[in-house]
């Protein structure tokens, strides 16, 4: 299921009539992107023996915020379910600590190593795992091609397409606002690929909609309080803002609080579009405070271990596997809220 709820998007509250100068205001949700045809399969990566049980390791880059916690939890739950032993390290948002973590994991020679890279540039250490004969599976972010080769240095990478997420957010916003208004955008952690890519997808798509004017963009570091402070300041300087795009749900919640504090009604005076798909966000769609949310599913566990088992069994595993993300809005939020993380 590609989460294609596109056609029902018009149900968003208060949607104005589509402005003529906004090409995407009436377009359907572009949906998930598909992996390019002929994605190579992993051939030269270290092999994995087929066993009843495995000892695996997972290097998480920062175990905070609901999203990453859900991701870690999902990995741990799935390992437990399968009866595997799993060791988790937390790099606490520090690239070089993650490299050190991975090296110390390698030293303990797990059967397989899962890595949620802090940045794209931890590739060299992935190569070290290969030298040690340990197959590596990347999840939620990838590493730079220059440093580590997919299918050789690591088996595969299971990711979301962040550019596409940004694009889908722009479409959803265009639809909800009818293609006119002033927008402020709140970005996630400086330099992270999710922040960079979502921004790119969002801004590129917004170019097709000149009626939506991006009046301010600020880095809110995925922090709720910071997003709240910034939104307050921005709303004061730009009282005519009508929409907010928050790259992540925590920032969206901060923005909604700021909108309320400014005496305006979120979902009515100012429309909020966000990404991640947390329970809290879905609930606020149900409550009418948020108009749309592009999922970025943190529950990698089942998929990751399934891929690992396939690889051990000698099946062909493509070197890039795209996660399927859904678009939530008033039409379906209530249905999914209970399952959200």
């Amino acid at each position: 299921d590609s989460g294609g709820t596109g056609s029902s998007g018009n149900a968003a509250a208060g949607a104005a009539s589509p402005a003529a100068n906004c090409a995407i205001a009436t377009a359907a949700d572009p949906g998930n992107s598909q992996p390019a045809d002929g994605t190579p399969v992993a051939e030269n990566a270290p092999k994995l023996a087929q066993k009843d049980t495995y000892r695996v390791a997972f290097s998480q880059n920062a175990n905070n915020g609901a999203w990453r916690i859900a991701e870690t939890q999902s990995m741990q739950d799935e390992a437990k379910r399968l009866g595997y032993q799993i060791q988790v390290t937390d790099a606490q948002n520090n690239q070089s600590k993650q490299i050190q973590d991975i090296r110390s994991l390698i030293a303990q020679k797990p059967d397989a190593l899962f890595v949620a890279p802090m940045t794209e540039e931890i590739g060299t250490v992935i190569g070290e795992a290969k030298s040690a004969g340990i197959p590596v599976f990347l999840i939620d972010r990838t590493v730079s091609n220059a440093q580590a080769k997919a299918g050789t240095d690591y088996v595969t990478t299971i990711v979301s397409d962040f550019v596409q997420e940004g694009k889908r957010a722009a479409y959803a916003m265009a639809k909800a606002t009818g293609g006119t208004g002033k927008v402020i955008a709140l970005e996630g952690t400086t330099g992270s690929s999710s922040a960079v890519d979502r921004k790119k997808g969002f801004e590129d798509a917004l170019k097709q909609c000149p009626g939506l004017e991006l009046v301010a963009t600020q880095d809110a570091d995925n922090q709720r309080a910071r997003a709240q402070d910034i939104t307050e300041s921005l709303l004061q300087a730009n009282p005519d803002v009508t929409a907010v795009y928050a790259q992540g749900d925590d920032m969206a919640m901060g923005a909604i609080a700021a909108i309320r504090a400014a005496g305006k009604v979120p979902g009515k005076d100012i429309l909020v579009v966000s990404g991640d798909g947390s329970k809290e966000a879905l609930q606020s769609i149900v409550d009418g405070a948020m108009v749309a949310n592009v999922e970025c599913n943190p529950r990698f566990g089942p998929k990751a271990f399934e891929v690992m088992k396939q690889y051990a069994a000698g099946d062909e595993v493509p070197t890039k596997i795209l996660n399927e993300d859904r678009l939530f809005d008033a039409s379906n939020a209530a249905e999914f809220v209970s399952q959200a993380y």
Partner: protein, 328 residues
Amino acid sequence: MSAATADVATIGHRLALQRRGTVAVLVLVVLLASLRYGDAFYSGINLTSYFDDAVKYSLIALGMTFVIMTGGIDLSVGSVILLAGVAGGLASPHGAVVAVLVGVGTGAAVGAVNGLLIAHSRLEPFVVTLATLLWARGLGLQLADTQTVVYGTGTLQSLARDKIFGLTTGFWLMILLFVLAAVALKFTPWGRTVLAIGDSEESTALLGVPTRLPKFSVYLLSGALAGLAGVVLGSQTGSVSMDTGVGWELIAVAAVVVGGTLLTGGVGSIGGTLAGLLLLQVIFTIINFENGRGGIEINSYWQNVVRGAFLLVVVLLQTGVGRGRKKS
């Protein structure tokens, strides 16, 4: 906060004892760990990664040792690592030498600004370097356009991975610099003057010894070493990400103090800093290993708690040692 004259004799002994204590604890911890984790603990790759990881912290801790010996502090080193790492990375396409020069030069330049403001304009080190922490990071982000900066896979990276006697160049660089620094502290007029300034800057000046230049120089040195650390980091990991260096200044300060350098200046040890740093770092490694045992699952949140508790235990032991002596 000058110590009473009568305490002076004990302070020296106390800190010397503390240094030995730090080394002893380090050895003990490593021994226990290798008993518990066996082969894996000291197997080649882990030792290498342990020391490699220590290099960058050790470089800023080394600079910090001299700064603290003058009674100052340099909170900006974490940001300087980022800035210089970025600058070095941008210069890396022009070759390893250029990258190193640019990185160290950038760090030295920031250090010089700190030094001028502190030594010449006599502003408080804590606040000056706190401000530098802000602007140097901002400048680094700006320079990198907030994107991770990649180091070209050239000489620099192979240099970082080359091994001499089984350990990487980074390790030997660290050892070399610490030996040089120890010699400089004990055997150069500069080193002695640095200590004198930390003891009493006013007295040093009234004794007719110029204080500005030595004071300036420690910040310059600290900046330059942080710059070097930035390039080393970049070449070891192939890139410098935007989160680099956040909070590292406090790791360095902790290492320096655990190593037996007096935070108020005047007494210090280079070897102690290295021991202190390796000790703090070994704790990280052990926590990771302990997680792997599956026995007690140390939630990563507990890591910070454990680190804080460990710091507490070390400093408490140290004061205990100091008190015990005083009574005898």
